[in-house]
Amino acid sequence: MSIERSEIEKLATLSRIAINEETISEVAQRLGSVLELVDQLQAVNTDGVEAMSHPMQATQRLREDEVTELNRREALQAIAPETEDGLFLVPKVIE
């Protein structure tokens, strides 16, 4: 199965991973073989079968609305690439 180059580029954009021009065809090929694997799913009839998102039949626990997390900014920002005045700094979006 082959995937279009443009498809790979779209996926790369959606997942924000830069893919080298040179490697795009290799990536496309490998992805293609994985998709061949998963296409085996199409052979089975799943009419009327419910989709399972969680293996256990449990329901969501609800948490009391009380503050339990106090200010830990210093500890949490100690590992940040760039901060200033308590803000995380990232390069601007170029509009």
């Binding site: 924000r16 998963v38 089975v44 799943t46 079968v49 399972m52 293996p55 256990m56 590992i79 390069p91």
Partner: protein, 484 residues
């Protein structure tokens, strides 16, 4: 000392045969001397370990020692350890020092265990050979030209080489069981929701489970007693009492009904592996268990379904790694998009990138129903297969892997060849069932694993059968050469 089991170590520490400091130093020395050959450990926490050992010795002396007081262990580098680098085998987190502990780590701290360090793993737990780690491949102590399995290859190799008596690990599609099998040790993946995922870096949230690796079933039971807990910080954690997993180890397997899926003994299964597994089943029969042939008809769909669901969930779980708040950020990003795209391209290895792309594809508009939607339905079918089977049998057994450890690079360029390694283990994760692997033979000097799958929350049943088998066999006592 390194040939003692955890059960024996606990006794030895309590009877003052040796101290935790002695024990800890012993293992630290072994890691320093032997690990260069295996590359199983990424970070060694020497100072903290010795400090913890000293504190443990004090508690042992005071007589108020918790269950695993003074026992050295290793944590797979997927569990966040407060103040200690947690890399997940990735360049993306090479500089990540979490300011919090995973619940599993907390549990071991409370139990008095001593953490020797963090073990190597496939990057972000994606792999079956531990070849994808940023820190280099792990070598199988039984054959250093071969893989130890993955993603918990480091933990498995470390236990096999007696660098630690036990280690924590995680399993999403077989990542505890498969390396346990290839390294000749015991490892159990509990029921989904048995062990808290808080602080356990997420790969595929509905499949991931943490579990122990050690050399015996009894040791796994001791470690699981500690790892399993209800944690209200994990919404998917099930609130159910944790039994003492060692309580029923000695129950006889007489009358135990063991299902043997015919689909697990088909084409692609290495004859040596089949022989060893069948011999193990025969041994259990000798011990009084009954073998029942069963069918899990949708088995073949488990790999395709998994390779949609796991990458899909991973593609979202890994979006947070963007260079903004922690972890790797590329140098001199031109703008925001450049920061994202280059940090992720440089920080993630090839397999991780591939799975993110697949996951993104399967969730895309136009493809969702055919891939993700379909897989979730297939998952239901696979679960139903097991539920039906368990109406008739107590445990299900078969080979853990299709063959013994393969050589590095043997799976070549084709990712799918690697994915098929997990063919027997994946369905258990899809269904959320508990599963274990224990050593049951050797083929050309490489270990073979017997897989034991149990019904929901029947870890005790699995461990019992495993323990009984280990009473009547000695595969689990064998050690690779050169690790004395």
């Amino acid at each position: 000392m390194h040939n003692l089991t955890i059960a024996e170590l606990v006794k030895g520490l309590q009877s003052k045969e040796f101290t935790s400091v002695e024990l800890t130093q012993h293992f630290l020395d072994r890691i320093a001397n032997l690990d260069p050959a295996y590359n199983a450990v990424i970070t060694v926490t020497t100072e903290q370990a010795l400090q913890a050992a000293a504190a443990a010795d004090q508690r042992l002396a005071d007589g108020n020692a918790p269950d695993l007081c003074g026992v050295p262990i290793l944590h797979k580098d997927i569990f966040c350890t407060d103040g200690v680098r947690t890399s997940c085998g990735s360049k993306m987190l090479d500089n990540f020092i979490p300011p919090y502990n995973a619940t599993v780590v907390e549990n071991f701290e409370k139990a008095g265990a001593v953490v020797l360090g963090k073990t190597n793993m496939d990057e972000f737990a994606m792999g079956s050979s531990n070849e994808t780690s940023f820190y280099g491949a792990v070598k199988n102590p039984w054959a250093t030209d071969s893989v130890p399995g993955g993603s918990s290859g480091g933990s498995a190799a470390a236990v096999a080489a007696r660098l630690a008596p036990g280690a924590t690990a995680t399993d999403t599609g077989g990542s505890i069981r498969q390396p346990a099998a290839l390294c000749g040790i015991s490892g159990i993946k509990p029921t989904y929701g048995r062990v808290s995922r808080w602080g356990m870096i997420a790969f595929a949230s509905s499949l991931d489970q943490g579990g122990p690796m050690a050399r015996t079933a009894e040791d796994c039971a001791l470690l699981l007693n500690c790892m399993a807990s209800y944690d209200d910080k994990d919404s998917t954690c099930i609130d159910r009492e944790v039994p003492d997993y060692t309580a029923n180890l000695n129950r006889s397997v007489k009358g135990l009904r063991i299902g043997v899926p015919k689909e697990y003994f088909s084409e692609g299964l290495h004859p040596g592996t089949e022989e060893a597994v069948r011999a193990a089943l025969a041994k259990l029969q000798e011990q009084g268990a009954e073998l029942v042939e069963i069918s899990l008809p949708n088995s073949a769909l488990s790999v395709p379904a998994y390779y949609v669901i796991a990458p899909a969930e991973a593609s979202a779980n890994l979006s947070r790694f963007d260079g903004a708040r922690y972890g790797y950020r590329c140098e001199n990003p031109k703008d925001l998009e450049d920061m994202y795209c280059r940090s992720r391209a440089e920080g993630f290895g090839e397999e991780v990138q591939r799975r993110i792309l697949i996951g993104t594809y399967c969730l895309s508009a136009g493809y969702y129903d055919a891939y993700y939607g379909k897989s979730q339905q297939v998952r239901q079918l696979i679960q139903q297969d097991f539920v039906s089977a368990f109406e008739n049998v107590d445990l299900i057994m078969g080979p853990t892997c299709p063959s013994p450890a393969f050589k590095f690079g043997a799976k070549g360029d084709d990712p799918v060849a690697m994915y098929l390694e997990d063919i027997y283990t994946i369905a258990t994760n899809l269904a959320g069932l508990p599963g274990m692997s224990i050593p049951c033979g050797m083929v050309e000097g490489k270990p073979v694993g017997l897989q034991i799958i149990g019904n929901y929350f029947d870890e005790a049943g699995i461990l019992n059968a495993a323990h009984q088998y280990q009473q009547a066999s000695d595969w689990h006592t064998q050690a690779p050469e050169g690790i004395a």
